[in-house]
Symmetry: D2
Subunit: 319 residues, 4 copies
Amino acid sequence: MPLTGPDSTTWPVPLTGVVPPVCTPLTPAGHVDTRSLRSLVEHLLAAGVDALFVLGSSGEIAYLSDAQRRTVLGTAVDAVGGRVPVLAGVIDMTTARVTDHARCALALGADALVATAPFYAATHPAETADHFRRVRAAVDLPLIGYDIPSSVHSKLTVPTLLALAGDGTLAGLKDSSGDLGSLRRLLVALRARGLDRTFTVLTGSELTVDGALLAGAHGVVPGLGNVDPAGYVRLCAHARAGRWAEAAAEQDRLASLFALTETGDPAHMSVGASALGGFKAALGLLGVIDHPATAAPQRPLPDASVREVRRILAEAGLL
Amino acid sequence: MPLTGPDSTTWPVPLTGVVPPVCTPLTPAGHVDTRSLRSLVEHLLAAGVDALFVLGSSGEIAYLSDAQRRTVLGTAVDAVGGRVPVLAGVIDMTTARVTDHARCALALGADALVATAPFYAATHPAETADHFRRVRAAVDLPLIGYDIPSSVHSKLTVPTLLALAGDGTLAGLKDSSGDLGSLRRLLVALRARGLDRTFTVLTGSELTVDGALLAGAHGVVPGLGNVDPAGYVRLCAHARAGRWAEAAAEQDRLASLFALTETGDPAHMSVGASALGGFKAALGLLGVIDHPATAAPQRPLPDASVREVRRILAEAGLL
Amino acid sequence: MPLTGPDSTTWPVPLTGVVPPVCTPLTPAGHVDTRSLRSLVEHLLAAGVDALFVLGSSGEIAYLSDAQRRTVLGTAVDAVGGRVPVLAGVIDMTTARVTDHARCALALGADALVATAPFYAATHPAETADHFRRVRAAVDLPLIGYDIPSSVHSKLTVPTLLALAGDGTLAGLKDSSGDLGSLRRLLVALRARGLDRTFTVLTGSELTVDGALLAGAHGVVPGLGNVDPAGYVRLCAHARAGRWAEAAAEQDRLASLFALTETGDPAHMSVGASALGGFKAALGLLGVIDHPATAAPQRPLPDASVREVRRILAEAGLL
Amino acid sequence: MPLTGPDSTTWPVPLTGVVPPVCTPLTPAGHVDTRSLRSLVEHLLAAGVDALFVLGSSGEIAYLSDAQRRTVLGTAVDAVGGRVPVLAGVIDMTTARVTDHARCALALGADALVATAPFYAATHPAETADHFRRVRAAVDLPLIGYDIPSSVHSKLTVPTLLALAGDGTLAGLKDSSGDLGSLRRLLVALRARGLDRTFTVLTGSELTVDGALLAGAHGVVPGLGNVDPAGYVRLCAHARAGRWAEAAAEQDRLASLFALTETGDPAHMSVGASALGGFKAALGLLGVIDHPATAAPQRPLPDASVREVRRILAEAGLL
């Protein structure tokens, strides 16, 4: 599937399978560690993932400067070399800023864009829809809506998504809302309109992938997939083959592995720093990346937490 | 399965299948319509449900006086006549009040109690755990924890639930949090501790029952099950038999039917009034209850909404 | 000002000054300590407060059984003996339940009722307004709206309050929203309509009383006023006399004293348990009540916290 | 007061009085209207304001591209010509991005920086404090913390602010939290530590300025001050002279004028679009700016709303 640019004929419609939100390896000084990023890309592709999503929440997008964003996307596109599509996050406060990132992502060779609703300044649903329409009109790449209320503090509603799917503004959805009931209603409504064959629905809820696929989602964007991409590839293969009990068992295993996101000290660090620190500590212990550093001002995992991450990896048979 | 009291040998462990949260039929003057309630009980039992949950959110518990609560529970217990277990909601602000309701429910013949964490006054998780321990110690009936953050404004965490499952305080969970990721982690952890055979997990998320059952939940408490109990019974039967594609298809059908909860006028009535009004309008149109009245101060469904409910029922083949 | 019942000619219009939300003293076994409650009433009246509000959040209303509510109100009415008006909280989930409490409060001799919007089940503003109208129609006592979004999870909006002030449903507002901007807009609008002479506005924000009085509020319902009623009485007297710098200095002193609400251990108890425990520990140290016990399942203040409360009282010159 | 750079001897300590958060005039095509911006600066300085805050929420910071941010700040610094200090918002998701903006602001001649806690990715209070320390260490300009939970979704706590005031990280606070109780506790604690003479506290709550000044705040950052800067200058002068009744009357007048922020159609536009559209419509009607355009994707005010803005201005005697 050699994709080399925004040629819409080569963008898979719909995109299916495992699309890890790639972590951004950093050096202890806080620079993008491009060597480790290339290594992580190989780790993921070797497991058989279907596409990569760079510059998402798991990629610490909120913490990266514009220069770092460019380094990450440029490095990833080059490392992938067209083997799978590269989706680029263009996360920013609102339309003008998102459009600037989108133009940059197009120039750097992204195959698709992933954008949230505006944040910081709250918008009306009608304004949110207009936001996506303006971004799509400005840059000719498939645009995926990113629903992540925990960061954006608003939810993309089913009516808004149906409108944006119906008029071709959005090519798909990355749903990190955790609201599988709403997702179900979207999937049923898309099917009723014949849009399920063109509009890609990816769940970002990494602990309920079996249920989401059973409900008709096309794929998954699992942060935990940085650590165990093969597990998610197996889960999707089971689902595709209708082996639902096996899919559920694989999901159960991954749910246990998810404990590596919660080893941090809640008295001194954020939930996010614990989760991203856990992913990176695991990738370091697995020899995929050189440094477990997370971006400032996140606190690093204490040593006891790293030992706990090691124990969890070992228990899961990954070490 | 003739259950006539708090004899723990007769409480099914775990409780499985469909447990509708029974609507509370009212007369136009706002009194409990016991004739319609008995009719609704028959409607549900005829469809093959496994237990009934009275005095829950779908039962408009928040709107009922203490006298009405007693009428509802007494009528339901009598109407059921021991054919299935009757779970009684004992929803109130905190421990002393919940305990008073629990004593009353025991006297009226409930087979189990369903209680939330304290609300109005926010409690610490340690205080919430203590709340459940005190209620359980005061009244000798199986106690189900009810996790409904949309009403209670706090979430029962996995560690708290594991502690309360492990020490026998809680006999189960009704999860209306919508957080299936958290539910998955609970189910995996219960299994790892051998508690999944004694601790009942019921999902209240009526649009994702297939996924919840695939993940290991024991059953479902679907508000929509008042209207179409047979649909949920079929869904559970498919799941029990491993017919996951059929389970998903049934869930999709029920997700479409769920539209009957959203016909109300959002400019003049609450989301809840629209949903409960939709259930009751449907039950009226189906001839199960005599009046579609909801409790004050909820606004009644306008006529146009009732026509829309009729259209949805007809489209679903229920009329 | 001998008020002995719902005679509207004796209800002060508007009610002005200091209206402490009376704590509910409990015995170590959790019963209402009527002796201490009488002592607390004398402590407050001796300081010159203008009315009492029993069965509010500071009175641990959420934790009390119906029988305890009756004991508290009956004891307080008897202890006051008509010296000042007694406002009774009738806090419950929605209309029918609130009305039951209101009837009981009328029978027990309350001079006015204080009710929130419905909670647990969220209502539309139109339904909320209807709720107050139904309660007012059912029981002939002045009705005060209680705006406390931290507990009720909705806010009484300015348009709703103006409507309910204008048609005589509400005799006043107790504003514990902390939103002084919204309060300002209400006060300005009441004045523009000539309603400021009949509609009583009391702030429950005990740290910003000077500003609220400067903005035109009629009085204050300060939880901290249980401990230092004389301070709030002085603050109001300064304000009434236009001595704003002195009012601000008194408020500053009370803001420092407020530290006694935050001595608890946040790892093991709720914010509310710390605050109520602080009030009661202080009242115990001052010799006003016999036991500092708070209602279950709130955790008691640890000894170190009680020592800190003593230190704060001493520093404030109250011990 | 010719301020030409980060010379700390020229930064007023503390900064007092009226510091309008300057609106960003735009052309109908969405470009920064520098002519109108210069006119707005003169409108504000002519009224006697004490400093200007550009690139804040009222400046539509969330909607501006980096290039537009530079144009706004450069134009404002040039237009002001050292007559008053210019505070520059450096609002972005987290440390690295904020630092980039801060360097740019220094180069463009800002006198001080205004930064929020990180958003999008939630941080722990310890991480938030570290964020401010890193920004301050990177760029040698006075740094003001901007507390605006409605946009940032976390609150700067009193302990964090006291720590950052005490170690010199922050030179002040712009408090748009609306939580005047917390502000009071901060002011009392700063005074107890002797920090009130060096740490500037500005309220962004434009409807409660009299109370905030009475409590000891040094000044105000009123969005409504774009429209009626003279009103806020009078309010502060009254407060400074101890004429509190006159200050309150002026505040009441401004609270009525605030109605111009709420003329928009809530069914089709956000609260923010209505408020910013109201400010800009008023400035257009007053002849201060050429176009009332707000940034995309905000919906423009409908004609009926603009007529209502005109009516409100006329009623206030401003037209």
